[in-house]
């Protein structure tokens, strides 16, 4: 097998469209190659006809079977993980014919499971099973292969948008997985639950599966099944978010401990959900940290575009709510540019402190914000706009009448302005006093910041971060893998060469010295 491609995260419909677009492109490439030289069959021809391609894919799938069986025998998860990683590239090449042929070659003709699976694939698939694909082998005794085939059919149905069939099949698969309490099925089980939830989500019946997911999560925790546990917690959180039940999501997070060995993909999702919950509860600093981690852990390629967009949108809003302005370079990244346009405008309005512009942008893009479920968070930004406005004013004017403040900030009345300024002074946004009788606000002199403790705090944060980074990298060091030992022979040869070279140079030096002595 060539290098294993990365597992793509599948969070949004955007991503689905991306992968489907890619699938179409790949298929088109293949078809073009076919039509180019279909008739000639000289040995130099490297173009493959459709039959050969199918055979290739079937062979790939059989290789995966071997991996799964090996994983079950040796009780090591990494073979299963390797096989599962290839699913994303395999997905694009699956057709019902290929699946039917694989199923035919695994099961005996009258097997229950086979009939069921073939039923889901449709009649044309069954027709493509020729004699050479039949097998006389008895049913294999590794259920991993069974579950893996079910998983492949489920993925195929998902890609073909046959949601009802997919739901039925996923129900059956989940029951099978739950009955078979085998550790070697763990990675497969995680994937099965994921697609199970996805089918229900696409048909809008998420609430029904909540009890099943909760039960499964409990058993996974008892069995210390990290992969399934992390997937299930993420699925549950997604479920709650879909129905806006942030309260329950918060309780789930507080009652469960997220497994530490979860894969980066799952961890990225979890951090995003966590960041969202904290942002709604007004804990912006924690939310900011979680979201930063989410953005960093997600793979930075085109397939995860949807997730990156969502995470970055939330990150921008949280930064604005904390009072920091996000950097402009964030908006220029090619993956994010179009999606972040409304957020860019909001950032501009907040930075300048212009309440009118803020209201306009809000009204103009209300639909986008609602669709992203960020509308209520952006409403909170109104207060930030005013705060920034007041800060600008206090910096620019040493003394300004309250009436002018009211005009500049587009507030409703002078009393409003007075109250707002008084509150800002108390909150430490600005340093000023109000003279009530004469009706003006006077700013205090600027204090030299280096004479306070501020620089020390900033330094301490940076030092702490660097030291933590150092400690973490030391902890993350690993011994080199066994595969490297294959090159060890070469390394030995290289070292020998070096040694001989050094000796020769040394001899040459001695010779020269002798010459010198003479």
């Amino acid at each position: 097998m060539s290098e294993a491609p990365r597992r793509s995260t599948r969070l949004n419909k955007n991503q689905e469209d991306d992968t489907k677009g890619k699938a179409k492109a790949v298929d088109q490439d293949v078809e073009m190659e076919d039509s180019a030289d279909a008739t000639t069959t000289t040995p130099e021809e490297k173009v493959l006809g459709p039959k050969e391609l199918e055979a290739l894919v079937v062979a790939d799938i059989k290789q995966h079977f071997a991996l799964f069986i090996k994983s079950a025998k040796t009780h090591e998860a990494r073979f299963a993980i390797r096989a599962l990683r290839a699913v994303s590239s395999l997905r694009k090449r699956l057709t019902s014919q290929i699946l039917a042929q694989t199923i035919a070659s695994c099961y005996v003709k009258d097997d229950e499971t086979r009939k069921r699976l073939l039923g889901y694939l449709g009649s044309e698939a069954a027709a493509s099973i020729t004699a050479e694909h039949e097998t006389t082998a008895t049913k294999s005794d590794t259920p991993e292969v069974d579950v893996y085939l079910h998983l492949l059919v489920m993925i195929y149905l998902l890609d073909q948008n046959q949601l009802d069939k997919g739901m039925e099949l996923s129900n059956i698969t989940v029951k099978t997985v739950q009955e078979l309490n085998r550790r070697s099925l763990d990675q497969l089980a995680a994937k099965v639950y994921f697609y199970y939830a996805r089918f229900y989500e696409l048909t809008g019946r998420l609430a029904e599966i909540r009890p099943t997911l909760l039960n499964a999560q409990r058993t996974a925790t008892l069995r210390r099944d990290d992969d399934t546990q992390s997937t299930l917690i993420n699925l549950l959180l997604r479920n709650y978010f879909h129905y806006n039940l942030y309260d329950q999501a918060d309780k789930l997070v507080s009652k469960t401990t997220y497994p530490e060995n979860a894969t980066n993909n799952q961890l990225a999702r979890y951090m995003y959900y966590l960041g969202r919950i904290k942002a709604i509860q007004l804990e912006y600093t924690e939310s900011h940290q979680s979201l930063l981690q989410a953005v960093r852990k997600a793979p930075q390629n085109n397939v995860t575009a949807g997730f990156q967009q969502e995470a970055n949108k939330l990150l921008i809003i949280v930064q604005l709510l904390m009072g920091e302005i996000p950097e402009r370079s964030l908006f220029r990244q090619p993956v994010l540019r179009k999606a972040l346009v409304p957020y860019f405008q909001i950032t501009q309005a907040v930075r300048v402190g212009d309440l009118n512009k803020f209201q306009e942008t809000l009204a103009a893009h209300a639909a986008t914000f609602n669709a992203d479920k960020n509308y209520t968070l952006i409403l909170r930004l109104r207060h930030n706009v005013i705060k920034t406005g007041i800060r600008m004013i206090s910096l620019s004017y040493s003394r300004i009448s309250l009436r002018d403040v009211c005009l500049k900030l587009h507030l409703d009345s002078e009393e409003d302005a007075e109250y707002i300024v008084a509150k800002s002074i108390r909150d430490g946004v600005i340093d000023a006093t109000i003279d009530h009788e004469k009706g003006f606000m006077r700013s205090k002199e600027n204090v030299d910041i280096y004479s306070t403790n501020e620089p020390q705090h900033a330094f301490h944060q940076r030092i702490g971060f660097c030291l933590k980074l150092h400690n973490d990298s030391v902890k993350a060091m690993r011994f080199p893998l066994k595969a490297v030992q294959l090159d060890a022979a070469e390394v030995e040869a290289a070292r020998d060469q070096e040694r001989t070279l050094v000796q020769e140079i040394a001899e040459a030096d001695e010779d020269m010295d002798e010459d010198d002595d003479l």
Partner: protein
């Protein structure tokens, strides 16, 4: 109790409550009886029971009246209990006919959270509300605007919102809110002004007579100068900036320890 009995009681309760001069004690009695009756109809459990829409609607109406009644009798914990029970009726059972009081009560709940300063709960509750209703429904717009004005600090808007309440029950919570914000205004004024004439202090704090102002000033330890009718606030220009020795020592030890670990 058979369901007809329950219906009869519920009707009696709603008649009593909606009449011109309700007898609150009697309503309370009705409510306790009804709660017991409804338990027998198993309205608290949510397993595989048949969705009897009539029963559910009945239960929900009773609970709504109960919530309103507890506001009238100024019993906040009871109001919160009723609201908690009503949440499932609003969220999970979408087959029920829409209740006219629903958004009123949701708005009341939001206001209750605000007045107790539970801002994060307020925002979480806000998320569960339909976005359309957020914009258009006056009952919900009212607490939202209130929260915005509180965040900004324009307390006079809070005061003027008293006149715009959608229903009587809101006034109760707004009065609680006024107490909280009086303290807020006072602490803002202390930092912002060096001195204030007493009458102006009164208007700022929404007091009407001098007595209240003087009492308040005494509570907050303002120095009142009766001759000039001014109140002087304690200014904190003479703070000494101590070197935070403790913290510096801890930080330096932390650096030293980690640096030594680097091999």
């Amino acid at each position: 109790m058979a369901i007809s009995e329950v219906k009869r009681l519920a009707q009696a309760l709603s008649q009593e409550y909606n009449s011109a001069n309700p007898n609150l004690a009697k309503c309370g009695q009705f409510l306790s009886q009804l709660k017991i009756a409804l338990i027998e109809l198993s309205y608290l459990t949510h397993e595989e029971r048949p969705n009897n829409i009539e029963e559910l609607t009945l239960a929900r109406d009773v609970l709504e009246i109960g919530a309103q009644w507890s506001v009238r009798t100024k019993d906040i914990p009871s109001f919160e209990r009723y609201m908690a029970q009503l949440q499932t009726y609003y969220n999970d059972h979408s087959v029920l006919p829409a209740s006219p009081l629903k958004y009123n009560l949701i708005g009341l709940n939001l206001l209750c959270l605000l007045s107790q300063n539970r801002i994060s709960d307020f925002h979480t509750a806000l998320e569960t509300i339909d976005p359309e209703q957020l914009h258009n429904n006056p009952a919900i717009q009212h607490p939202i605007k209130l929260e915005q004005s509180l965040m900004e600090g324009s307390y006079n808007r809070v005061w003027s919102s008293r006149s715009e309440v959608p229903s009587q029950e809101y006034l109760f919570f707004i009065d609680i809110l006024m107490d909280t914000i009086r303290n807020e205004i006072a602490s803002c004024s202390e930092k912002a002004y060096t001195s204030l004439p007493l009458s102006d202090a009164g208007t700022l704090l929404f007091f009407t007579n001098m007595e209240d102002i003087l009492n308040f000033a005494k509570e907050r330890n303002w120095k009142v100068n009766p001759v000039e009718q001014k109140a002087y606030f304690h200014s904190d220009t003479d703070e000494k900036i101590n070197i935070p020795a403790d913290q510096i020592i801890k930080q330096t030890m932390f650096y030293a320890r980690d640096m030594d670990r680097i091999v």
